[in-house]
């Protein structure tokens, strides 16, 4: 039984790693997509921006797919319930995510102004929208989501989807997520771009980093007034994975800070996030984009870890039937499954990291607009 608990915790951590990887790598590409129309005044500059992430966006996007697959396998009930309750939002996210690869491949294949301008808009929408939704999902989950289960494990939704799109706290999280993405994308444009392109990217990135910092602090204060979730009965972390018949759960304002009060070391996580945002913006101001990029990654990790640290062990609490809230303990896969997946992750994650690193090394260096425009193969 202890092994099962350990596996559940490890997979909760790996979920955090995946979400961070997704946020950093996909967020960077999304940021570039969002900024495309603003940093690129000429077609050459826009193509250069695309060429900067060109060889890598496809690989980065896999973080997103892997995220979906890993949640499906490691937390099946969470996958089933969250994707269905957030249906409209998820479908919008999906539309944006499938528009993007096509935009990459098709934009520069036809030399007509309207064609390219349309795809540039597609980049803006398909870059900004997913990041807002990504952040808003965290915001919604923090406030609890209205759902309950029937005896056979089917979920039923108790809330209108309009709420998920338009509630103020979720919007704040969404904008913060977009700001960080703009920061990360801008940093990448500075690393591999030149001249005006890099200069404009720098302005947007610094603004994004500072805006994210402000919103992070506001969110931190706001969370004190939001109703968090706590167990009111003792919990067996090794319980079989079912949301039915679990221990009682109560909602109380400020409960999300309980973990921080109990373990003050956790305060390091938000500190890490804030330092990343502030330090990163300063590094970009000082024209150190590589350092800035890594500090931006740190900001993401700190932010996501802060949310995870506040909520643990809750994953998606139910505001209408709190006792059926999904937690790390009751929404996970079986021990056998988690064990096998861990085996695969231990073998393949280092391999992935090494060949991704190799691919970046092979393609490193500044991107020259002249080469990009002359080469019809490039994006």
């Amino acid at each position: 039984m202890e092994l099962y608990i350990a596996l559940k915790i490890i997979w909760a951590l790996l979920l955090g790693v995946l979400l961070s990887g997704l946020a950093i790598m996909v967020g960077m590409d999304m940021g570039v997509g969002t900024l495309l129309r603003f940093v690129g005044k000429t077609d050459a500059e826009r193509r250069t921006s695309l060429a900067i992430i060109g060889p890598h966006w496809d690989g980065n996007q896999v973080w997103f797919i892997l995220g979906g697959g890993a949640i499906f396998a490691a937390f099946p009930t969470l996958y089933a319930t969250s994707f269905s309750t957030f249906y409209v939002v998820m479908i919008l996210l999906l539309f944006a995510m499938i528009l993007r690869p096509v935009a990459f491949e098709y934009r520069s294949k036809v030399d007509a102004r309207h064609w390219r301008a349309s795809w540039d808009w597609a980049f803006l929408v398909s870059g900004a929208l997913p990041m807002i939704i990504f952040g808003a999902a965290f915001g919604n989950v923090l406030q609890g989501v209205g759902f309950h289960f029937s005896w056979d494990g089917q979920y039923y939704q108790d809330e209108s989807f309009i709420w998920y799109l338009l509630n103020p706290f979720a919007l704040l999280c969404g904008v913060m997520s977009l700001a960080l993405a703009v920061y990360q994308g801008g940093a990448m444009l500075m690393i591999r771009g030149m001249g005006d392109l890099a200069a404009r990217a720098r302005r947007f990135a610094v603004a994004g980093g500072l805006l994210a910092l402000v919103l992070f602090v506001i969110g931190g204060v706001w969370i004190e007034f939001i109703k968090g979730f706590v167990f009111t009965q003792s919990v067996d972390p090794g319980m079989p994975a079912t949301p039915l018949g679990g221990p009682a759960v109560a909602m109380r304002a400020g409960a999300w800070l309980d973990n921080f009060h109990a373990h003050p070391l956790l305060w390091l996580l938000p500190a890490l996030g804030a330092c990343g945002m502030l330090g990163g913006s300063l590094a970009l101001l000082a024209r150190k984009p590589v350092l800035g990029w890594w500090l931006g990654a740190l900001a993401w990790i700190g932010t996501i870890a802060t949310v995870g640290g506040a909520m643990f062990p809750f994953l998606m609490p139910s505001s209408t039937t709190p006792a059926q809230s999904l937690t790390v303990w009751n929404a996970s896969g079986s021990a056998y499954n988690l064990g096998w997946m861990l085996g695969f992750a231990v073998v393949f994650v280092p391999i992935i990291v090494s060949y991704t690193g190799w691919a970046f090394r092979v393609m490193k260096g500044k991107v020259n607009p002249a080469t990009v425009v002359a080469d019809d193969h490039s994006y």
């Binding site: 060889p55 997103f64 797919i65 499906f72 994707f83 997946m341 092979v362």
Partner: protein
Amino acid sequence: MIDPTVVNLSRLQFALTALYHFQFVPLTLGLSFILAAMETVYVITGKQIYKDMTLFWGKLFGINFAIGVATGLTMEFEFGTNWSMYSHFVGDVFGTPLAIEGLMAFFMESTFVGLMFFGWDRLSKPAHLAVTYIVALASNLSALWILIANGFMQDPAGARFDPTTMRMQFKSFSALVFSPDAQAKFVHTSIAGYVSGAMFVMGISAYYLLRKQHREFAARSFRIAALFGLISTLAVVTLGDALGRMDDLLQPTKLAAMEGLWHSAKGPAAPWKLFALPDDAKQRDAFSIGIPYVLTPLVAHEWNTTIPGIYALERAAKAKTVSGIKAIIALKSFGASHDPAALAAFRKHENDMGYGFLAQRYAPDQNLSAITPALLPAVLAKTARASIPNVFVEFWSFRIMVGLGVAFIVVFAFGAYYSLKNELEKHPLVMKAAMLAIPLPILACEFGWVTAENGRQPWTVYGWLPTFQSASSHGIGYMIFSLVGFVLLYSLFIAAELYLMFKYARLGPGEHAVQPKPLPVPARPVFGQPGYANKPWQ
């Protein structure tokens, strides 16, 4: 209460998005290995024309690949957004191959495809060749894990239902991965992709040859594709035969529907229906022509065996339903009370529980406890009828797929023969056939999907979870919103894709085979292929 309209709309959406995605997958699977073969020749012989071939077909590969990846994303998320009960019920075992696919194959494919397109002047010849092979291998590995997941839906090996968590729990990794259905289906699908890729290359090359354009380029491409395709097609047919035998053992309802078998086929003389018009409502053929002494040896590879027909299968389903209803009632009571007696009652009938779920739809208020003895015969009859897939669709999609497969053998055989004799230009008919056949393998793949998945109905997990039970509890408004969005977006994509494919295929590779120009090296070689930029065809 489950709303049948929502279930049907969810099915429609899944079928549309899956069939759409599956237009692009076969080309990716096949073209990637054809590219690898062409580049191998380039590395061996050092002839520039083979690099040009790799680049040109690689460009078409890229257009196809992007949209394949994009639409594949939909599939990964649709299980959660539209099939929540299914995801909850099998996520513990079904999600695992999907996650492993991401870790093992998709990451590799997507990372290396960037290097394949943009790394020509940054990698040595052998290193780039290795990258191309990795892309090809990873694309097919990706298909492997997806089809292992699909194999679980067809034959749930390696998992067991657990009444405490109300879901299938993963029990044996090797049983899942080495399930015979998954194995045969993977090889069949992957190689069907090779056929599609080969026909694509051969057909477009034939177009150039017919117009006497790019002859050096097209004759070589034709040769490689024709040989590649011929052997692949033969392999696909072999594997299809293996799959048929598998269905005989594991999915008798699918096989009966595929062959239009209303009555059981006993002994060697039973006819194999060459042509028939099955009428699902009346459960008989409106018309049929059969060939005796073909069916039994074809399906079972034996002379004296009985293949159960639909009437017999429905009778068997009724008995299972009686037991299944008891299983579900006991399961529900165990869920509420955790009473060991209820668990024992469930255990007695657990293997038929799927049929209990299936009967739910026909019970008053979808509540099995409300079935009175007077109502039972009607519920049993409806459940039994529902346990058989649509025979007309199954019968014909199977026959179209097989018929196309046989036609491909002919086209590839003639193509390969005349290409080997260097007499292609004397036989324009062969080339015209190859050209017209370009989209047909993809069509055959689509019909193969219909055969496999329509034949699985009414189950999402064969024998355990009915499709009706699997969908998310959405309102109709949600479904209309997403369906309209998909139709609009996907129409836009296909228009753009076809426009670009035709544009680049028409432009062709250009005449540059005779004397490759020395490549000027730019001051800062960054992206793409320096020296190719000045060529009008790119």
